[in-house]
Symmetry: C2
Subunit: 467 residues, 2 copies
């Protein structure tokens, strides 16, 4: 058992600064008090919170406490931590902000003092200036989020920013991306990315790790940990520019460090991949978590639009991939089903014939030995789809069912990139998730992310094979 | 009056290949037959289409025809064009595909023959391989789209791709972006980007022009036209790479041309701006169409998240902008309303205090003489917003009302970048559009696009002022 387990499987919890007025921490408090997790609210001014007896101090709680969530104002945090240590708690999550990130001498000192006493005790601390953790499997959370609006999956998140604990989960859930655990680590007085990378590398619920970093205090250990990872890690690093680096300092009090050093270290480690933004990070992770690894760099493109196909070709070159050169047999197979006005030079641009020609075409592509990955660009306007009604719905369901079967049969990855309205995305996502097959086909809005994922997975797959 | 007017204000229309079965062109046919536009269906096999008498040939229609929409198979197009010219029509839109883009000798020749006879007659032709035009003001369309799912605005589109005639309109409408006219030009046997740039430069309904180009046959005239534009033109050029350039050829039969030449020409013209993808193109155009021009490069950032603020700082440097250095007065004003844990070094990171502190803070930023543009990063998780219910809704409405008033009063642009679920975007968009003030505040999903727009508008504003 790891020390980190206490943050995800606490037997008892206290919330210091628990409140029944709507503000930061309210959703967490209400959720935990009503949940299967044994939770004690602590509030110096209240007798009762959401119908549960409130305690004046953690010291008054008559039972052992595993984990404490601290929501009180910055000036009360140090004393609270001291009380927790006296009580013998195992883990503390300090969500309160107002420490080193303010650049105010008094609050920097406060943080240093917490750091010092954490080191002298056995307690492990996450934060301050964060929203803590979520475990999507056992439904434990400290992050003001709702499990009704989240999906279980194989992607884990370690992030030096609260937005990755709920706001990007909101976004990702809409996009069919599921998670195992998220941990936001804020100013990192104790638990940091090194502890958590090691922990998640062993976590059976996690297959891919995403890491958002503003800076590290343990560069050497971090780079050593990168070397020893077995799972893929998708890294986003902020603060590349001068002013960005200053902004990082005023966010979590981190020194951004040298951008080029990060780049060099990441390039040396074939299991660690650097991305450029949050959307890219999650989309790439989703493909890693859902698709088989390609054994080559040849991408076949099936598209409803020639211009989007051309754009994908630009991107294939940009990513160092290759446009698959189809065999004569595949070309004959496709030619036998398409009308004469369909262009199959390079990308397979089915245009409006897609409703009749998609299924035999994608079958032909999957079986082609020169094809390693398949990019499917969906571009049908909303209005005709709506006019087609259930005809369109049934077609879309059948389409995803076949893609899933082919993905499993040929062990080749396939990603669908959709263009159009929110309605169109919903239409496709419903069709995708209506299939009984367990495998998921990512549906995303950017060609770049799909191709980047193929490239990274190809690189990762090579290492995996070679042992 | 311009020759191009016939494509947007035809007095009578014939649809050749009109059909009442659901396929490409069905929506257009049904819409026009039921509309105020006098429309005659032509179908060799049918007596009646959607309750309207169908004609065997355009020659059989007893009235004059201004504009013809051709939907028939590629092999029937040449004869149809000849018939149209005999009939004396003024404009033709050939939507049928299967010409030069197939790289099949026979179909290349077919296109050349259409081009030749177009040149010898007075008729103007758009296409082939396109979906024609939409006029959002008078609600004329040939593009299989629905005006119930579109918004009138000041952005025009010229595009060598059908996806920009409806699919991206679907997307843009969801994103609050409105249009004046869209024209998809396909393989361009006659009407091309040069004709349309000149036309839209004079169009009172258009304020900003977006141009998606795969290649040009009239490089010299195009570059000359760029020089003479008075309105801003946002250009996306595909086919940068070798394989992308080949793909462009198989899409609209265009030669992609030298990417560096385009770059150089665009850089010489301060009213022409190059972008990297469709989303960027429309988001930037939306800011141009809705916001005042900034008179300087100093951007103030008000954010709910420090990490997103830091990301914006990286991007400010990337775009050659400056993070605004607030006056002492502004800092005091903001300090008087924020709690001690709010960090206002660099970006103004209000965190969860945003509900109490946003309005006085943004007022302070607008009045600051060192601030030229305002970026507002909205990052509140969905669940707390839903729990707050009407409290949150009312706050959001009030917030946009105040932003709009400040934008008008101080004549400074403001863009809101939102992170989170589709629900959150809807929540904000409803609040934005509920205000009675006519000005719109763009709500987008990428910091990069907002800052790129500020930079381009600053450059454009300088030219405008100087001449």
């Amino acid at each position: 058992m790891s020390e980190m387990d206490i943050f995800f499987h606490p037997k008892s919890i206290a919330i210091i600064g628990a409140s029944d007025s709507v503000k930061f921490g309210y959703a967490t408090t209400k959720y935990l008090l009503d949940s299967k997790f044994k939770t004690f609210p602590v509030n110096i001014k209240k007798q009762e919170i959401h119908g549960h007896k409130a305690y004046k101090s953690i010291k008054d709680i008559p039972e052992e406490i595993d984990l404490v969530i601290i929501l009180v104002g910055n000036e009360f945090v140090l004393q609270t931590v001291k009380d927790c240590i006296k009580k013998g708690v195992k883990g503390i999550i300090i969500e309160s902000a107002g420490f080193a990130e303010t650049d105010v001498e008094k609050y920097i000192k406060l943080q240093e003092e917490i750091e010092r006493i954490a080191k002298e005790s056995k307690v492990r601390i996450i934060g301050p200036n964060c929203i803590g953790v979520t475990d999507f499997n056992n439904q434990f959370t400290t992050a003001d989020m709702s499990f009704d609006q989240a999906t279980i999956g194989k992607v884990a998140v370690i992030a030096q920013s609260g937005v990755l604990g709920n706001i990007f989960i909101d976004w990702a859930t809409d996009n069919g991306i599921g998670f195992s655990k998220t941990i936001t680590i804020g100013n990192k007085v104790d638990v940091d990315e090194v502890d958590l990378l090691k922990y998640l590398n062993q976590d059976p619920e996690t297959q891919v790790i995403t890491l958002y970093l503003e800076g590290t205090k343990r560069g050497k250990e971090l780079f050593e940990t990168f070397k020893n990872m077995e799972k893929p890690v998708i890294v986003l690093k902020n603060g590349k520019s001068d002013i960005g680096s200053k902004a990082v300092n005023s966010h979590t009090g981190s020194m951004a460090g040298n951008n080029k050093v990060y780049d060099a270290v990441i390039k040396q480690n074939p299991r660690i991949f650097r991305v450029n933004n949050f959307y890219e990070m999650f989309n790439v992770a989703h493909v890693f978590a859902s698709q088989p690894f390609p054994t080559g760099k040849n991408v076949a493109i099936i598209t409803g639009s020639g211009s989007l196909g051309a754009l994908a070709c630009d991107e294939i070159e940009e990513q160092g991939l290759t446009l698959a050169k189809l065999t004569e047999n595949t070309i004959s197979l496709i030619k036998s089903v398409i009308p004469n006005w369909v262009s199959i030079r390079g990308t397979i641009d089915l245009g409006p014939s897609i409703f009749e020609t998609f299924i035999p075409t994608i079958e032909a592509l999957f079986q082609d030995e020169n094809v390693d990955c398949i990019l499917y660009i969906f571009s049908v306007p909303r209005w005709p789809l709506q006019m087609m009604g259930s005809m369109a719905t049934n077609w879309a369901k059948q389409q995803f069912d076949i893609i899933k079967k082919l993905t499993q049969k040929f062990n080749k990855p396939c990603v669908c990139v959709c263009f159009g309205s929110g309605w169109t995305f919903d239409f496709l996502r419903k069709a995708e998730s209506s299939s009984n097959l367990e495998i998921k086909i990512p549906i995303m809005s950017r060609i770049k992310y799909a191709l980047k994922a193929f490239k990274m997975m190809y690189e990762f797959g090579k290492i995996k094979k070679s042992g």
